[in-house]
């Protein structure tokens, strides 16, 4: 889809744009409301190990998984692959994956049962899953 390259906007005043935004904004809210009411989101049942491994395999196809920990509510998973940790979490009706150094994951603090995991990338910077069986026993 092309970006806006509208030189006509040079002649449009800012108040006129704001006036135009109001009805458009209302239309957007109506469409979003209808989209929500229609319940067209993908089913994202709680993760089990097989599904988590499959989803991680999409993002990290050549990475063998040594061990995986699942969040109690099935909304996230943390896996170890050698010196790497792979983190998977639900966002809306989709899944998002991140990777970080295993040492960063293993050393991350646990507060009130939640692992406080610092992630690379712009967003989110912090994940706080409650992982079953965490922390791993020292080797």
């Amino acid at each position: 889809m092309p970006e806006s390259r509208c030189w006509r906007t040079a002649a449009i005043s800012i108040p006129a744009i704001l006036t135009g935004l109001i009805p458009s904004g209302i239309a957007v809210l109506v469409l979003v409301g209808l989209a929500a009411l229609a319940r067209l989101a993908r089913p994202t049942p709680p993760l089990d190990e097989a599904v988590a491994l499959s989803l991680l395999g999409d993002d990290f196809p050549e990475v063998p998984i040594d061990r995986i920990w699942l969040a109690g509510d099935g909304s996230a998973a943390l896996a170890r692959s050698g010196a790497r940790a792979l983190y998977l979490f639900r966002l809306g009706d989709a899944w998002v994956a991140r990777d970080l150094a295993w040492t960063d994951a293993a050393d991350a603090p646990v507060r009130d049962g939640r692992l406080h995991l610092r992630l690379a990338g712009v967003s989110p910077r912090l994940a706080r899953p409650v992982l079953a069986g965490w922390p791993p026993e020292p080797a």
Binding site: C6, L31, V32, R42, R98
Partner: protein, 305 residues
């Protein structure tokens, strides 16, 4: 002619709304595939709604540059000449192909375009997930040769609008495949699903605007395969529906990389290298992902000895 007598995009807005309503309705009735997540839809539509505000920053410059180019034109293409519209249809679409390819293959321009690909959904609302920073990276310069050639600013503006309106309807899973002759010539939902997919096979393919012939001509065409459903989004998907994150996440990532750069070569690589470029090659680019995927395919198809 400087002032366009009409704006195809404004005229099409009611069609955009009705088409999204239709897609949602067909999805609800299970008559067509349509997946919507409310926050994702809100992010997409809000990006489209607010795109005009940052565009104001550069609109004057774009207008002035285009008028200047037209005033120094080589030929004069009459606004009402039918052949002029035929010519600009092809030339603008070729320009769009170049712009779109640049926007995927070089990181500075990818930073402006990436938001359009940041949804893990592929529906008509995704079409409206428009850039906020395109004007700042100067992609409009690519259209100036049309004005130098003699097409008026108004004619270029209208043809760009026609292209944008055309590309709206191809952002859908509700349409399977069009008739073969249409698929052979035009960009279609099937071709554009490939473009939005993050499967290695589909990365950096099908840059077309209206005509798919450019991808076939320049070797970037990939047909959608029934055996490999597209997985939409980015190599590393966004973890947020915040529209500021959607609009600026790659710019923030570039700023971080530049802050860590140790030489001019690294600065150049981070800005003008392919998305994913890194000094030590430790990050993935589309090329490296495709190469590893191809190697895996070759290994899988090699009979065991």
């Amino acid at each position: 002619m400087l002032e366009a007598p009409f704006d195809p995009v404004k005229l099409a807005v009611p069609f955009f709304i009705l088409a999204i309503l239709l897609e949602i309705g067909l999805g609800r009735l299970r008559l067509a595939k349509a997946e919507y997540e409310a926050r994702d839809t809100l992010a997409s539509l809000a990006m489209g709604l607010l795109r005009g505000v940052p565009a104001l920053l550069t609109a004057g410059l774009v207008f002035a540059a285009t008028v200047w180019a037209w005033e120094h034109r080589v030929f004069t293409v009459p606004f009402t000449a039918w052949w002029g519209w035929v010519a600009i249809f092809f030339l603008e679409d070729l320009t769009y192909y170049g712009f779109h390819r640049l926007s995927h293959e070089r990181r500075l321009w990818w930073a402006a375009h990436v938001n359009h690909h940041s949804s893990q959904h592929y529906n008509l609302s995704t079409a409206l997930r428009q850039t906020w920073t395109g004007g700042l990276v100067g992609t409009w310069i690519l259209w100036l040769p049309l004005a130098f050639l003699g097409f008026s600013p108004a004619q270029i503006f209208i043809q760009q609008g026609i292209s944008l309106v055309y590309q709206f309807w191809i952002h859908t899973e509700a349409v399977g495949r069009m008739p073969a002759w249409f698929e052979a010539v035009f960009n279609t939902p099937s071709h554009h699903r490939v473009h939005h997919a993050r499967n290695p096979r589909y990365l950096d393919r099908n840059y077309a605007g209206i005509l798919i012939i450019w991808d076939k001509l320049f070797g970037t065409f990939q047909a959608e395969l029934d055996a490999e459903k597209p997985r939409y989004g980015l190599i590393r998907n966004l973890g947020s529906f915040n529209i500021l994150t959607v609009a600026f996440h790659e710019w923030i990532a570039i700023a971080r990389d530049l802050a860590s750069a140790r030489s001019l070569r690294e600065v150049g690589g981070y800005l003008f290298g392919p998305p994913g470029w890194s000094p030590d090659g430790s990050r993935d680019t589309s090329k490296s992902l495709r190469a590893r995927w191809a190697a895996r395919q070759a290994t899988a198809s090699t009979p065991a000895e």
